[in-house]
Symmetry: C2
Subunit: 396 residues, 2 copies
């Protein structure tokens, strides 16, 4: 334990300035950024880097993932996507590790006339939002990506939607955090500690009580279940299961695909993300089954069937891994970033499909919050206050 | 090294009576039976029990696997199937291990009218061969196995086609062999040794030369590639790749299936083998790709698609494992059992799809051959001599 350096003076002697609960990319970036600001920071996770990010595909796709009515989220996603190149450079420098960032662009295609109509509507929405996306004929799509199915009827070329490798990203964040002085407590936080109407840290699985001036709950899909968090503060986060496959593109088949390729097949999205190292990620199911991370015959079947319809040649590729993870879903599919009604407790959770994309911006937002600074404008709508009317009247 | 106990006196001093090359069920049963007969026996394999049997489903299905023109093979398969209950009892007693033998029967079903016509022809052939098989309507099939697809058009109930668990079988054979005195040489045999016009043992990967009065080549799909075997004696065995899935039936879904269920879907056979322990094996592809044991997206896709068509509820089950193995194929799909033109070298290979089924009979045949006894009549047509006309004129 270290002497308190808590900027608001709220921590008892012997406390950390900041305790981050959760070692996914969101918790790791928060801890790294906090430590960079001079805060004495600890992070609790039984296996940092081992959560949903191990399963995630790492698409950085604010444009192709645009949905009606989510313009505020679009602004947030774009703000983080803009930061990705500089963020990657800084992180790779700080950690000495490659993160697999690849400015490869994305091609979203339509396999039938219904899909084409939907994709065309998405294109109109993108243009209204001022985004760059180019409509291509089926022939033009196949010229870009010759492995595409002959039946592709058209597509959207989005050169700004890139990718990173979430497994390498979390490893780099782990190293950068440790180098910046983050203390990793390799245990699960089992209970939030409170005293005098404020959060004061957390109790770990072995019974250790970790005191901290400020606590950040960044436990992904588990954020809604931490004991000791007052009911009215508990984030409305639920697990949304995703199953995903990893194929390998053997040398003679490369590049196979040169950018992310995605489509909606029979109403279900499927995407193929080709990494520089020859890995080809195929994702992902979306299932509301609680805390279930079972890989099922049906999940794998759906992914293979849809990927095969989109890129028939995938059947030739080795299937290297099947896995399932839990996205932290929120009621409006957007994250909860900011203070709660319980002083000393911040949230950085509920990122749903966008956790990897939002890593740079989340780190910045939380660092500002933890040091009493000013959060970027784009993040203001995503205060947890939007789900707690009483708090909503206070300013962020 | 031990003093020679070789019954034909052919081994030099310091030699084993018998060296078995290959530690799959065929090699293991040969070694066990040889040791039981008092022969000093060694078996060379880098990881005994680790070959194709780890992938095999373990169907004991001479009746449902009957093919036109393979009546001699049918007699061999039936002879081994008849031995399975007593063999299992003896092996489980000798090893103290359960082998997962299950007298569950098999149901072969038709999913469309073409399939039904083919299945009906198979039924006529079975009846002509004096086999027991009962024709059932689609409704009767679903009464037996309620998880079957509603579209099932009819089926054949074969109560005599059972199953065993090849992984447990090989473990039991390993234990029984060691208890009977088989020496396991945990290395690959890289070259057959010959001297004075006869086989005299083998050289191992580390250079050790193992001398033996008689050598049995039981190396499965690798049997056709052992260095040092004269060209005219090398068995015409090739690898036939099979991919296979293991699902798990969670408690609430059991029994799910109560017997082996199989069908031909779009010309491709698929089978589901339910184990007592809740494992459900789905197999298998048949691919001629040389020594390739890659699990591919296409193989897994085909198995899941066909299993789903046969038993739609499989999609709910956890997918636990995907694997691929190499069957030892032979020109007539039948094994090579017996002496070669090279004195001192016997073959026990080329079992193709029937290695597990033929384990009991192969053990008996090889034990007789190694001790100068009389092989069972059913095995006589399967001498390697049938592929070497010069030898064919000699008696077995």
């Amino acid at each position: 334990m270290h002497a308190s350096q808590c900027p608001d003076g709220g921590g008892p002697p012997g406390a950390w300035d900041v305790l981050v609960i959760g070692g996914g990319p969101i918790g790791l970036v928060t801890a790294w950024r906090a430590a960079q600001r001079g805060l004495r920071t600890a992070l609790a996770d039984p296996s940092p880097g081992g959560g949903a990010a191990r399963v995630a595909a790492g698409m950085l796709a604010p444009v192709t993932e645009l949905h009606y009515g989510e313009e505020a989220l679009l602004a947030l996603n774009l703000a983080s996507a803009r930061r990705f190149p500089a963020f990657t450079a800084e992180l790779e420098e700080a950690s000495g590790r490659d993160t697999g960032y690849r400015a490869c662009g994305t091609l979203a295609v339509a396999l039938d006339s219904d899909d084409r109509a939907h994709l065309s509507e998405l294109h109109q929405l993108q243009l209204r939002c001022g985004l760059e996306a180019t409509w291509l004929s089926g022939r033009e799509c196949r010229r870009l990506e010759p492995m595409l199915a002959p039946g592709v009827r058209g597509g959207l070329r989005v050169d700004g939607d890139h990718q990173t490798d979430p497994r390498r990203l979390t490893q780099a964040l782990l190293t950068a955090g440790e180098r910046a002085g983050v203390e990793l407590l390799r245990q699960r936080a089992v209970r939030l500690l409170t005293a005098g109407g404020r959060a004061t840290g957390a109790q770990l699985a072995d019974g250790t009580r970790v005191s901290a001036g400020q606590t950040v709950l960044a436990a992904g899909s588990h954020s809604g279940t931490l004991a000791g968090v007052p009911e009215e503060v508990l984030p409305p986060v639920r697990p949304v299961k995703g199953q995903l496959l990893r194929l390998r593109v053997p040398g003679p088949y490369r590049p196979f695909l040169s950018r992310t390729v995605r489509a909606v097949v029979r109403g279900t999205p499927v995407y193929l993300v080709p990494r520089e190292n020859g890995e080809l990620v195929v994702g992902a199911t979306t299932e509301e089954l609680g805390f279930d991370t079972t890989v099922t015959a049906g999940g794998v079947y759906q992914l293979l069937r849809d990927a095969h319809e989109l890129v028939p040649g995938v059947t030739e590729l080795p299937l290297v891994e099947t896995c399932a993870g839990l996205r932290p879903g929120s009621p409006d599919n957007a994250p909860l970033l900011g203070p709660t009604a319980l002083p000393g407790l911040h949230l950085a959770t509920g990122h749903h499909r966008n956790g990897v994309l939002l890593t740079p911006l989340t780190g910045e937002v939380l660092a500002e919050l933890l040091t009493g600074g000013r959060v970027p404008d784009e993040a203001i709508p995503f205060s947890p206050a939007r789900f707690t009317p009483a708090l909503q009247e206070q300013s962020l």
